[in-house]
Structure formats: C-alpha cells, structure tokens
Symmetry: C2
Subunit: 166 residues, 2 copies
Amino acid sequence: MTKDICSKKMALVEKLGVHLESREKLAPVAARIMAYVILTGKRGSTFEEMVEVLCASKSTISTHLNHLQDLKKLEYFTKTGDRKKYFIINKDSVLHHINEMIKEWEEVAALHKEMKAYKEAINEHITDEEEKFDLTFHNDYLRFVEDASASIENLKENLIKNKFNL
Amino acid sequence: MTKDICSKKMALVEKLGVHLESREKLAPVAARIMAYVILTGKRGSTFEEMVEVLCASKSTISTHLNHLQDLKKLEYFTKTGDRKKYFIINKDSVLHHINEMIKEWEEVAALHKEMKAYKEAINEHITDEEEKFDLTFHNDYLRFVEDASASIENLKENLIKNKFNL
DNA sequence: CGTTTGGTTCGGTTTGTTCCGAACTAAACT
DNA sequence: AGTTTAGTTCGGAACAAACCGAACCAAACG
C-alpha cells in the first residue's frame, strides 16, 4: 500500500516534471526535483532522499538544488540536532509565478503594439488598399491579453486574501 | 527613408524573433524566418530574400522553411511564369495558435486536478491536521484557468467572426 | 585523531542543437 | 546541349546542455 502510493507519486513526479521542464525551462533533473518537492509538501525533502528516488548523482542534485535556490524557487528549513536540509517550495513562489505570467502578458502586449505601429506606418505609404496590412488580429489579441491579465490579477488577489486567512 | 524603414523592420525581426524562439520553441533562424514573414505580410517573402536579409546559408533557410511548413506555420503562393515561392504565414495559424493555448490550459488544469486528487488521497491517511496538504492553491488556480479559457474562447469567436466579415 | 555525514567542486563525457559548405537536382531558359 | 535559377540533401564543425565520478571539505561524532 505504501509502495502503491509511492509508485503513484513517482509517476506524478515524472508527469509534473515533464511539464515543469518546458513551462519553467528547467533541466530534466531540476524539474523532477521541483516536482518531487511539490508532491512531498511541508514535510520537506532531503538531499540524500532525492539522490536515491530520482536516481541522479550527488553532484547533479547539489548543483540543481543550489540553482533552484538562486532562482528563489526552493528554500529549506532545518531541525535542531540534524544537519540535513529539508527542502520545500519557496512560500511566495506561487505569487512569484503569477507575477511572471503578468509580466509575460505585458511583454506580449507591448510587442503587439509595436508591430501594429510598424504596420500602420507602412500602411501610410501604401496607396492600394488591397496591399495594406490587416490589423484586426492585433486589435483582437490586445483585447484578449487585457482579459487574460484581468483574470490573473483576480487569481493574485484571491491568493493574497487566502494567505491572510491562514 | 526606405533604408530607415528597412532597419526598423530588421530590428523588429530580431525582437519578435527572440520572442518566437522561446514562445514557439523554434531555432534562432527559424524564429527569424517567422518574424520576417509576419512583418512582410501578404506580399510574401522569397527564399533568396531571406538568405540575404537573415544572413544565413541556403541550407539553413531551406531546412527551416520545410520544417515550418510541416508544422503548418507557413505556406506559400506562386506567380505564373515565376518559379519562386512566396512565403506567408499560414492563414489559420492564428486560429491554430489559439487552439494550442486552449489545449495547453486544459493540460494544466488536468495536471492540477491530478495533483489535487493525489494530495487528497494522502490527506486521508494523515491524522494530524497540521501535516495535511493545503489545497487552496489548486482550487484557486483551477478557477483561474477556467477564466483564462473563457477569455481565449472569446478571442477565438471574435476571430472567426472577423474572418467572415472579410 | 580518525571516521562518518552531508554535502560541494571540478574535469570530462555524452548527447543534442544549430548551422554551414559543397555537392547535387530538376526545371527552365538560350 | 549547356547554363542559370531555385532550391535540396548530406556530412560534419562548433557550440551548448546535462549529467556523472572522483576528489575534496567542513562539521560533528566516537
């Protein structure tokens, strides 16, 4: 039974790992570390434990753990009389992730605006209506980005609210 | 003046290129091809032209052009008595892109549901309330994904509407 | 003081990506 | 038939990413 839950966990680690690999642009093992730490929760995950369950070398785990801490994605707590570090996801990594998404959408919006401006400038030099750039897509997309941004801001507020409820 | 517009265009090609490189997971030159084709518009961009302005070899351009066509991101038209191919972005690449986003959100939602189910299963075996997984984030996130999906569906409908207006 | 524990650091191998040049092809022009 | 045009294909060079093992280190333990 414990074995069953464990294999289920490792299956999820792989699945979530693959997702994080592309979503957060992490190296395979780094993504699996994140996934494992997320699915272990507040109990915390140790260096040794990860070397074993993720079947990676100490050097690989060490390097990635340090890197993930630099990126503020992980942090750790300790126990008195125990030299081990217990890794957990950074408490405000969720908020950080959301802010990243907001920034990303803003960047996309800025790019669309720049492209639109460029195309409008070109259009002025074109007499034939048929040859002109079509701008409807940029307009629609910009409206969409506004909508999406509003949803994210909403999520962000929900999260902050829940944080204070705890 | 034409030179000015041209340098402005190439600056935008680089900027959009960098963006597409990560957003669409394309090789540098492939991303710049996409950017260039997008910023050239319906006039169409030729093989030779891209070899020159993107400063890449014929083989590189050829390989990437074929790859981008396989991915349905590009297509071309021809002119009678002219062997050149005039590349433009695939007419329904925008819709395709939107469908990709929808699919992506669905996948994220599925993953969150799976993680939530796993954590709930674990929680049942834990007596200490303090030790239990916190599920509020998954709930909030799932609600957010629903919102975001709705916005995208909205954009999609706008686009389809505009298509028929033309 | 020697050993164990919990890691870190470095050099190197493997693997993968991205691009290029040179040789090639197929159609059209002369 | 030969050349030009518009590309394709193949082998490999150059670089980068990801991981590993071995040697190392610092703190605690015995």
